[in-house]
Symmetry: C2
Subunit: 354 residues, 2 copies
């Protein structure tokens, strides 16, 4: 990679290529380890895991590579207002459960662990990077992770969000453009106001903050990485490009769906989790719509359906998170992808340096 940035030096990695955390089964310890082993940095999405599972995942990654890796959590959020009754939300989902031969969905049980419990596991994990999504965390959280030597980054979708994240004392801000797959990290404005394309978002955040900026959203190959550097980013974070890799945690049917979908076939939806996220349009997204209980209630209500559908390769019931660059996704090993990206960045910079 032609640009060693402050971030690569700080992390002790060769390439400023971050594999985006994809909580809920998109990533896997094998994917994270493969990316780190190839000289990038894999980040494991630990948001939905209980503390012992986080410890287990970190151990599994560490067994596969001695290189730096990262962990991501969702910031603690105010508890959503539960619907007066779960019956309508359950009734809406019940037919899918029947179709999949599952018992009907049940009102979600209260969580058995807190963000602080998850954080404690992260702090003891040996991870070199900690990132958070959905909101600012208390600045003590940032300080605690930095005290363990971790590089800390938070996600922003507008300039004002980036400034709020920077104020916490982070090492870097992830600028998430509207192209990005999966959950929107928006918190300061309604997400509709925060759908800023990566091309516009990155330079405006770069100009506003002093810390390095990690560009994400629609970056799929070396051309995108070089473009992000041109815009002023110090690193890129890529999700969809890694989701079709052999080591990714999703089903083959999901990967095939990414590989055969077109750039205009993704949409922002609340149907699966209660929070806006970008995925490929499918039956459940259309039928369930956006009038659902808040996150994480809806997420819990749909989880057994998604788990069963993933195993059965039934993509019409899955949250098919994917970004708008999906025509550029390829089947490959994650290490091959990282090597290809590094080569492509060189070629791209040579081409435009012509």
């Amino acid at each position: 990679m032609p640009i060693p940035t402050g971030l690569t030096e700080r992390l002790g990695v060769a390439h400023p290529i971050i594999q985006a955390p994809m909580a809920g089964g998109g990533d896997s310890p094998a994917l994270v380890a493969a990316v780190s082993e190839a000289g990038g940095i894999g980040v494991f999405g630990a948001a939905y895991l209980a503390p012992p599972q986080i410890t287990e995942a970190a151990k599994s990654i560490r067994e596969k590579t001695p290189r730096p890796f990262g962990l991501n959590l969702f910031s603690p959020l105010p508890a959503p207002v539960p619907p007066r009754a779960f019956a309508p939300a359950i009734a809406r989902l019940a037919p899918y459960y029947t179709e999949l031969g599952l018992p009907p969905p049940a009102a979600p049980a209260p969580p058995t662990y807190s963000f602080d419990d998850q954080l404690a596991a992260v702090l003891d994990s040996g991870a070199a990077m900690f990132s958070f999504t959905f909101a600012p965390v208390p600045s003590e959280v940032v300080a605690a992770a930095r005290a363990r030597g971790m590089l800390v980054a938070g996600t922003a979708t507008t300039v004002e969000e980036a400034l709020a994240i920077e104020k916490l004392g982070v090492d870097a801000v992830v600028a998430q453009g509207s192209e990005a797959g999966g959950h929107r990290g928006s918190f300061a404005q309604p997400f509709e106001a925060s759908m800023i394309g990566t091309m516009a978002l990155v330079p405006q955040i770069v100009d506003a903050v002093r810390v390095p900026v990690i560009a994400s959203g629609g970056i799929m190959d070396g051309r995108g990485i070089a473009a992000a550097f041109a815009l002023g980013a110090s690193a890129v974070q890529m999700g969809t490009a890694f989701l079709t890799c052999e080591e990714a945690g999703v089903s083959d049917a999901y990967k095939e769906k990414i590989l055969t979908s077109r750039e205009h076939e993704t949409r922002i939806t609340r149907a699966f989790s209660g929070r806006p996220a970008r995925g490929i349009v499918n039956r459940v997204m259309i039928e369930v719509g956006d009038e659902v209980p808040g996150f994480p209630l809806q997420n819990a209500l749909t989880r057994p359906m998604r788990t069963a559908a993933g195993k059965a390769g039934r993509t019409e019931y899955l949250s098919l998170w994917a970004g708008q660059g999906l025509r550029l996704a390829r089947r490959q090993k994650a290490g091959e992808l990282v090597a290809r990206l590094v080569a492509e960045v060189r070629v791209t910079i040579d081409r435009i340096g012509g």
Copy 2:
């Protein structure tokens, strides 16, 4: 500019920087001429002009510069279904007319000229470039313009639209990302499906078509231009960056609004014209909403209001078209902007080539 592309050679211009057509008063013969004089290519938005006005505008540009310039038209569209009665649409707008001291809006008169009439004026204008927006034109239109030696480009917002445009025999495709200000060029899918960010859109279109691609949407400075080249574009088209230039046709109040707005303060609206377009949120956009007569009916209904508001500097009544990169807009002369862009591209490529 470090990259002479096929397009610059074909056009006989120094820099692959196109000033986007901004019909309805955003551009001006002075702006177009200043951009062309500085080595880019200015494109005048002639969509709303009668043939003699097109001839007049081209003459005015030619008097100011001997260099190549372009003209843009809106493609012929099926006539919109007129509302059963215009009364409700008129009633909704009437208070604004009263506030501005104008006679109440009237049902629009039928057009006195056709697309073919406009095209005839364009063909005789001496323009070096002809671009079209909103739909494919008949391929004879493309052939006629090319027969006059014009470089012909059409606008696309998805890969499939780009392929449809390429099939007409054009010289280039304009890839309009979701960041772009002003009207969406979408035609093959509903515009909601076609809100693809520039970072994702450009490389996917570049891979799909054989003709050169002109990137647009969120490109505001040399970083954005270098990024567009990295993505594979052969040129860029920039609107908002030129809209705050001294020579632009909009009021000072409009320019000031761009210079003081934030990236999350634009939205897609049909309120002003009946077609989706991106502008800065204001009172009329919010109050009128999207349930309006189709284009160009609503456009005609709101025109006297917008014209009067522009003269009076009353931005709450204006269609404040602007893209998502607006924090990067500056007050300057258009020639200074072009020179600055060229210098910035060099600096950017040197930086990432580091």
